[in-house]
């Protein structure tokens, strides 16, 4: 390793399409699908837990236990059923996002003040209409805050999936960096792309939230002064 340059530009240029580009695309796919499936599972779980309170403690315990299982172990656990398809990575990573997303959905649904909920009912909103038109829109900032954490966590965890040969930028780091050449360039490229992807997705989610929730924007200075501090912190 010692006599090699830190960044081998020639190597990057010759490998730009494959394996760098393909690994990146693979990485995007392997992180996007778990986030999507996680959201699709967390919404009904969260809605049920918020509506039917006794359900929430066991649901929360369940998703937390899943989250506590080491990812490597979980990959190998699903391997016999999924073999070396992408599902070997997608299923465990989906399960991990639940530990972040479910509590955020439940908290978000709890954000509608009691008087607003009562007013909605008193004006003739049925339960489903209230859920779709009041509770969920108001929960959006919380759900997106959860998505931001879940996506950063997932993007970084996908790299581990390469240990079971599932591709992604982890593959680049592992195969190109350690096994084949034992030099730093692929490792650095893998790290930089992974971090850049995480930043990009986070930024896109912030934009999505601004677009979906115009009421949380304080265009008027007056509102900034009048409003209480934003309920959710800025998840790093």
């Amino acid at each position: 390793m010692g006599d090699q340059p830190l960044i081998d530009v020639d190597w990057i240029l010759t490998n730009l399409g494959d394996p760098i580009g393909t690994s990146l695309l693979e990485h995007i796919k392997l992180s996007f699908l778990p986030i999507l499936f996680g959201l699709l599972l967390a919404l009904p779980l969260g809605v049920l837990s918020a509506r039917w309170k006794p359900l929430y403690p066991p649901v929360l315990a369940g998703v937390n236990i899943l989250y506590a299982i080491p990812s490597i172990a979980l990959f190998f656990l699903v391997l016999p059923y999924t073999s070396f398809s992408m599902w070997t990575a997608v299923i465990p990573l989906t399960l991990y996002t639940l530990a972040i997303l479910v509590p955020n959905v439940v908290d978000g649904l709890g954000q509608v003040p009691d008087h607003v909920r009562q007013a909605a009912t008193a004006m003739g909103f049925g339960p489903m209409r209230r859920l779709l038109q009041v509770d969920l829109p108001v929960a959006v900032p919380f759900v997106i805050a959860g998505l931001r954490i879940a996506s950063v966590a997932t993007i970084s965890m996908v790299s581990v999936a390469s240990l079971v040969g599932l591709g992604g930028l982890g593959q680049l780091i592992l195969t190109e960096g350690f096994r084949n050449y034992k030099f730093l360039t692929p490792i650095l490229v893998g790290i930089v792309l992974s971090v850049a992807l995480a930043f990009l997705v986070d930024g896109l989610l912030v934009l999505l939230q601004r677009w979906l929730t115009p009421w949380t924007r304080d265009d008027s200075r007056k509102a900034a002064r009048a409003a209480a501090p934003a309920p959710e912190g800025d998840p790093a």
Binding site: H115, V116, Q118, A119, T121, M123, F125, V134
Partner: protein, 386 residues
């Protein structure tokens, strides 16, 4: 008319919120439910739009049992205003107001046109239409709440302590606004409050609830103040009900005297003559346009030069005045109590002095309405007490 027939509500834990309530709420009038917390007033209100269903008895609107309708559809025909307004934080003011029209399937253009109409009606500015609720003050939010409740022009309006979360000054102006709106709209309003002052001010009739969900008294507010049904009602109304009741009697029947009102151009000698002739120790000096300047007492007149003009002398402040045509006996009494001369100054709509009245004369007027058989029909015309 909304009718409660032997309506009871027992909650699953065994507490009785409402016990065999019989009540008729007349169409087009404001009926206030008032009482301490835990008296069942809010539960009773919520049984009208089926937010709560009674365990026994029947509630009907114009003869139709409310349980004969789908709750959501029933509620779209009944306006509802809640404490803290209950506005949707994620919708603009105009969309908040158009909520029920949207639920009823109106077109967006029609719903928004109606919402703009209502914004004007409740005193909101057109440029506030695209704001979000958190950008408005509490009082403005509650105006939006009232506008939203009126959006589909429901005949019935339920108001659940709508003004108790705003400060007293804003509350007073919202109350005035409601009286003004009701004079125009004639809705059947059921209004819940724990504040007897508010109940007396707003209600055409007031239903006092006692803890345990029993109705203690239903009456015209003036009658309620004059003849409380029992010790509970009397205690709940408070100690100065006699004075508060004077709000229901107009000041225009008071014997005002203008013979002790003098101009700035009159002389001290003339004023002394007036004092002697009428046996009155005070004269009121008015400006050339007959707006009040102040009081002059006998000692000040004795000390002054006889040829001096009254306008050149320092007068005692006249305190606050009452408007003869609009104000109540309570305002006149208050003005006399606060006057250094012990006399209240009555003015017309232009602020010109009509005459003055002494506490002793006020006393006779108060005594004459003191009987229990007074005529509450006089009430309607009396405005607020300033």
């Amino acid at each position: 008319m909304i009718t409660f027939e032997r309506v009871s509500k027992r909650f699953p834990d065994g507490t009785v919120a409402v016990a065999s309530l019989d009540l008729e709420i007349p169409t087009g009038r404001t009926t206030v439910f008032v009482g301490p917390s835990g008296c069942g007033k809010t539960t009773s209100l919520r049984m009208i739009n089926r937010m709560v269903d009674p365990t026994d008895g029947v509630i009907s609107i114009d003869g139709a049992d409310v349980r004969g309708k789908d709750p959501a559809e029933l509620r779209r025909t009944i306006g509802y205003v809640i404490q803290q307004a209950g506005l949707f934080p994620h919708r603009t003011i105009i969309d908040n107001i158009a909520t029920v029209p949207f639920l009823l399937g109106w077109s967006k253009a029609k719903a928004h046109a109606r919402a703009r109409e209502l914004m004007e009606l409740v005193g909101l500015l057109p440029e506030q239409a695209r704001r979000y609720p958190h950008q408005l003050s509490g009082g403005q939010q509650q105006r939006v709440g009232v506008a939203r409740a009126l959006a589909a022009d429901p005949p019935v309006l339920l108001m659940d302590e709508p003004f108790s979360a705003v400060d007293p000054v804003v509350r007073a102006s919202l109350q005035e606004e409601l009286l003004r709106l009701q004079a125009e709209l004639h809705k059947t309003i059921v209004f819940v409050t724990h504040d007897i002052e508010e109940a007396v001010k707003l209600g055409d009739s007031v239903a006092v609830f006692r803890p345990g969900g029993h109705l203690a008294q239903v009456d015209h507010p003036e009658r309620l103040l004059a003849v409380p049904a029992d010790d509970f009602v009397e205690g709940f109304i408070g100690y100065d009900r006699g004075v508060r009741r004077l709000s229901f009697f107009r000041a225009d029947a008071l014997p005002l005297r203008s013979d002790i009102v003098l101009g700035e151009e009159d002389t001290v000698a003339r004023a002394r003559e007036t004092v002697r002739a009428h046996g009155e120790p005070w004269v009121l000096v008015v400006h050339a346009d007959r707006t009040p300047k102040g009081w002059l007492g006998e000692p000040a007149l004795t000390a002054a030069e006889p040829d001096a003009l009254l306008g050149s002398l320092a007068t005692d402040p006249y305190g606050h005045v009452f408007r003869v045509a609009e104000d109540s006996l309570r305002s006149a009494l208050d003005a006399s109590v606060l006057s250094p001369a012990g006399r209240a100054v009555g003015v017309d709509a232009q602020g010109q002095v009509v005459g003055v009245v002494a506490q002793s004369e006020l006393g006779s007027a108060i005594w004459s309405v003191g009987g229990e058989e007074s005529d509450p029909a006089e009430r309607g015309a009396v405005g607020s007490d300033g």
